[in-house]
Symmetry: C2
Subunit: 129 residues, 2 copies
DNA sequence: CCGCATCCCGTCCGATACTG
DNA sequence: CAGTATCGGACGGGATGCGG
């Protein structure tokens, strides 16, 4: 039994909200990149490769709003903007790292479960051709 | 600095995938409910209150496919289906609980950051009227 | 260099209605 | 009781073009 009794429904939804935020397509990659040290906008974009400016800007804004990332604008020409993790942002990624290690450790168990399930359910429709 | 060097980009995306899955609207609530012991479909629906049958079914299916939940059908009339966490499912929610506690501990820091940000950015448009 | 605005598509999710 | 089918709105996210 999991000791869930310390977490009520409201707390649970709050966690879910956070998970949704950091579980999106780009957040983890961006934070990982910033974990190596402060980076400029273009450097991030280059490092992530396939991300669009729109999503990079939006994700950074969300991270900034939540207090995980700090945005420093140097008003020169051309403009120069540097992003860095805040202490809170670094702290967040301790439990995230734990989850990451769990995922890494159990990735093949999950894969196996999926394959077994798919084999048990020969339904060709809702699993892409 | 976060020790991210043990996690390459591929691993990072994998984690992101898992986070997206469990960070959806209902998964955590359902797992928390099942953490108290096996439950039947209707019992879950009653407990969660506002969830639709569609989402409950879909979420349970996903959890089952990933090997986190076991589905036991008792072919009587009326039909009877019971859901329970698998050992893998219970194990997963150790790191999740750690993250939950972090969230609980820092919830007001995040709120404060958001309010500060919103105050700094008096943009009435993209934040609901 | 950095970021915003627009268009557009796919997916998520809720509401409703129907079946074994 | 447990589940499926269908419709429709909301949102995420990519492509492109414009402006400090």
């Amino acid at each position: 039994m999991i000791p869930t009794d310390t977490h009520d429904t409201g707390t649970c939804q709050r966690i879910s909200e956070l998970l949704s935020r950091i579980g999106d397509k780009w957040t983890l990659l961006i934070v990982r990149a910033l974990g190596q040290g402060p980076k400029r906008f273009s450097a991030l974009k280059r490092e992530l490769g396939s991300i669009s400016q729109k999503m990079l800007t939006r994700t950074l804004r969300n991270l900034e709003r939540d207090g995980f990332v700090d945005r420093k604008v140097t008003p020169v020409t051309p403009p120069q903007v540097e992003y860095a993790l805040t202490p809170l942002g670094m702290d967040l990624f301790r439990p995230i790292a734990a989850l990451a290690e769990w995922t890494f450790a159990h990735a093949d168990a999950i894969d196996a479960a999926r394959h077994a399930y798919d084999a048990r359910h020969p339904d060709p429709d809702h699993r892409a051709a």
